[in-house]
Amino acid sequence: MRRWRPTRIRPGWPFLVLAILLPLLVQNPFLHRLLAVAALEAVLAVSLNLVLGYGGLISLGHAGFYGIGAYVTALLALHLGAPFLVTLPVAALAAAITGWIFARPILHLRGHYFAMATLALGEILVLVAYNWDAVTRGPSGLPGIPRAELFGWVATTHRDNYYLGLALLVLAIVVIRRFVDSPFGLSLIATRGDDQAAASIGTDVAGVRTMAFALAAFFAGAAGALYAHYITFVSVEPFQLTHTIALLAMVAVGGIATIPGPIVGAVLLTLLPEVLRGLADLRMVLYGVLLMLVIWLRPQGLLGQGRLFAGWRGRPPASLVPQRVSAEPNAEERRTQPSPREEAGAR
């Protein structure tokens, strides 16, 4: 059986330096705004990838955790005057705890049952935010959240908020990379391939999945806190199913179960609607078509493993998400290479 190799990451330092220098070199507030949004989306995509890519679980409620972070921050800042250094960790923990409590009973669910349960959770969170007027002010939202403040420095401009988002992104990448390379991460990847086999060799399937789910929720909640302080206004729109779906697209377009993939996907899909702005009404039509086109040419995502232009007759890397039995005419050709499972059985 082929040994699982941790994804080798090309050194990220040049990219980090570029990410820091870019807004200093280009003095364009519009670009700064896009970068600030893209940084938050990247945090969300990277954290969703932990559940989706490494855990093999389709979560349709990720934007809900983002919403918990944003609403907790807004309420703490507005009613208690809590500073940024308090709201950020509390928001992240609130999302993580919600994720932990919710994950435990549903993690034995598989495939679409799990996806449905997370979709239901996401919808409930949105409906609570929308209908609990006394606390969330319903559809009118919560305005007037103060800007993020760190030791006297206030993040007022788009660029300041971009740097806050970038810092959170770097933290998320470091923590999630460590998690994935740790014994927990290896167990998580084992449960993705075959949860019963993983359980039979002593993996605590529910435990490791719960941990991954809560960690992903933690970073989504932290991103929500930054969002609330950045936009200074919170209402339900950014936390709905459509946002979770956009996050799924970012992870898949960039490359599932890779570290740089979701970041690239988040940046591309945040910039794409702006690039297409000239098309006015047809902008989102082209967005959808381009999404299909990318997946068609590279089903494993832009930075996914496998050869370039693996679409059509391409063979996806066997190490990716569990595959269904293929049904295409050249399946015989594929079977000349034994699957890892057959190999293991033959030994």
Binding site: H112, L119, I124, A252, I256, G288, V289, P299, P316, P329
Partner: protein, 301 residues
Amino acid sequence: MDSVTIPVLVDQLVSGLAIGGVYGLVALGFALIFGVLRVAQFAHGEVYMLVAFLVLTALPALPLGGFSQFGLVLVLALFLGAAIGLAVERVVFRPLMAAPHIAAIISAIGLSIALQYLAAFLWGAELHPFVLNWAPGNLTLGPATIPAFKVVIFVTALALLAGLQLVLRRTQLGRAIRATASDPETARLMGINTIRIIAAAFAVGSAFAGAAGVLVAALYGVVYSSMGIAALVKGYTATVIGGVGNLVGAVISGLLLGVFEVLLESYVSPKWSDAIIFALLIGVLVLRPQGLLGRAIPERL
């Protein structure tokens, strides 16, 4: 909130069964496609929306009176749905058969976004009135008076389910579909062209989505470009409650969902009815992971 009287209750039950019939039809198509392909068709709601818009555009060309217009519209919706379904299968799903599930799901999401905004571009994003010439009046059922059209929707949904069951149980094609759903590899070894079976499932499943789109448009009297999202969420919910791959379960849970929703809206709280339904759904999934009506071995037709 209404007080509970028999006529009101009967009216609400019928309304619930009508909207539940629509959910059931959406779920039926979704479950059929999922059964043979094992991938969620996330653009299923857009087939429903697109057919409703196309029929709306064709309505002025169908100046028939009464029931014949309704019948013709329904047949047209079935055919349009099937045609769109075949195209979707060919463009979105067939090229990705060897790819990971998530690739096909994202591709379907891309199509869903493209179609939704294309409809908004072509017809406008506002609500469009959808009125048929046929107004079947009211039925009197003991003390209650109920709009006959709601009964028609419910009956149509059941008739389509019965027709599908007949095809699945009694014909060569149906046997091939069930074989493909239960084991695609073996089905192919037995000489079944599974590619064509998947296309057939798409045609039939999408035809049902088309019928559901027209029925819901006639029920509420409006068509709009984002109507597919709610339909997908409700159809997906009904599919999962029914036990993925269980077609009869999908329709029954669609009907239950509709009735439950109407009753919650009238007697508990219109604001919280969706939240209660989703909370109950989580409860169902925790207690019965195979779905409320599913058997222990899920994902088979």
